[in-house]
């Protein structure tokens, strides 16, 4: 696991049925592109988050492929319609095989 990786998610705790809620996500990650060289001229190996997936009650909301040009600490903000109470699961896939997960519940009133 790369150093200092920490996922953060902001989801409203309550929503009304069918409401589009704004979801903000950020994962602190170095996103080393693989294009840079160190002082000795050796290539610094690529180490990025390459995929980000959000599901709601098992149904896919977004599925993003990330490329090396995306900068440090990738941030995503998007809207999702919440039909019923349930859980959002957020999953980030690291180049080194690590998987970071986060879950947030939304109550529909």
């Amino acid at each position: 696991m790369a150093d200092g990786v920490k996922p953060r998610v902001k989801v409203p705790k309550t929503a009304s049925a069918g409401e589009a809620v704004t979801i903000k996500t950020l994962i602190s990650h170095q996103m080393e592109s693989g294009q840079r060289k160190d002082k000795e001229g050796n290539t610094i190996p690529r180490s990025i988050i390459n995929r980000f997936v959000v599901d709601f009650n098992g149904q896919n909301v977004i599925d993003v492929t990330l490329e090396p040009a995306i900068s440090t600490n990738p941030y995503f903000e998007f809207e999702a319609i919440v039909p019923e109470s349930g859980d959002f699961t957020f999953t980030w896939y690291d180049d080194d095989g690590s998987v970071y997960e986060e879950t947030k519940s939304v109550e529909v009133s």
């Binding site: 200092g4 920490k6 953060r8 903000k24 950020l26 602190s28 600490n73």
Partner: protein, 281 residues
């Protein structure tokens, strides 16, 4: 924003495209996380002779930059603050201690930043001094670099505990000689361009200096996440940057001159809310 409107007369179109002068701070109100109302404009403290109203630097920034400070989730400084929370609980140095060995938590320091810098045992002390002294004496740890992210992250974490409280530094008694020295530096013209702090931040705040909208140079939001550098910036680093831009030899970060200047500039913001960690351009 004004948009240029197509008009048949070329001269009239040119007139419309002249942008209005930004001579004043804007009228926006700063509420963080939709609950914490900040004071960004208030009556100047009595010791200020030439300024009637003091404004937070937040009021001089663009709407986009301002927005980053409205919600802690959007505030990029919070990543470094989070790292400082981890550092608070991490053992470092020969004594096998962390900050948490002696202090219950960062919350213990509520209000401290609002009263810093202050005189302790005859010396003017800023937050960076407190941290490195405790690291050396209590923990037996190596000192942190003044403007390093470990140091500034911790300064920001402690400052965050005072967020929303009014800045209130003492300038009388023991602090008076340091304050006078800081004031002298503030009004001294430095460098080939012969500019003092006051030339820009007192005489010309609200005006544009090239592409930059000059603020009053308040430091109530420091350490500040500066978008240009994409990291937390210390007060002394910004002092140094300003003096460097006058084409002068600058004082060093952590010098007694900058400690005195920090006390003086902080006292010019007495009454504004502590905004640490702020976001600026």
């Amino acid at each position: 924003m004004k948009k240029a409107i197509a008009i048949s007369s070329g001269a009239a179109a040119l007139c419309l495209m002249v942008t209005p002068l930004l001579a004043e701070p804007d009228d926006d109100s700063l509420v963080i996380n939709e609950e914490l109302q900040m004071v960004t404009e208030t009556e100047a403290p009595d010791h200020l002779e030439y300024v009637n109203t003091i404004y937070s630097g937040w009021r001089f920034r663009t709407d986009e930059t301002q927005a980053l400070q409205l919600d802690d989730f959007d505030n990029p400084a919070m990543l470094t603050v989070d790292a400082a929370i981890d550092a608070f609980n991490t053992v470092d140095g020969s004594e096998g201690k962390s900050c948490a060995s002696c202090h219950a938590g960062p919350e213990d320091f509520a209000g401290l930043t609002a009263s810093m810098p202050k005189v302790i045992d005859g010396k003017l002390v800023v937050m960076e001094d407190l941290l490195n002294n405790h690291r050396a004496k209590a923990m037996g740890a190596e000192p942190w670099k003044w403007s390093g992210q470990e140091m500034q992250g911790m300064v920001a974490l402690i400052g965050l505990q005072s967020r929303g409280m009014p800045v209130d530094v003492a300038i009388d008694g023991e602090a008076a000689p340091f304050w006078e020295k800081g004031k002298e530096i503030y009004y001294t013209r430095y460098g080939q361009l012969e500019l003092s702090c006051a030339n820009c931040h007192e005489d010309n705040y609200g005006n544009m200096i090239r592409a930059d909208h000059l603020s009053q140079g308040q430091i109530n939001g420091f350490p500040t996440y500066r978008l240009k550098q994409a990291k937390l910036i210390s007060k002394h680093n910004r002092f140094r940057g300003c003096i460097r831009d006058t084409r002068a030899e600058t004082f060093a970060e952590g010098s007694d001159e900058f400690r005195a200047l920090e006390l003086y500039v902080q006292s010019r913001g007495n009454g504004l809310s502590v905004e640490t960690p702020a976001v600026r351009q």
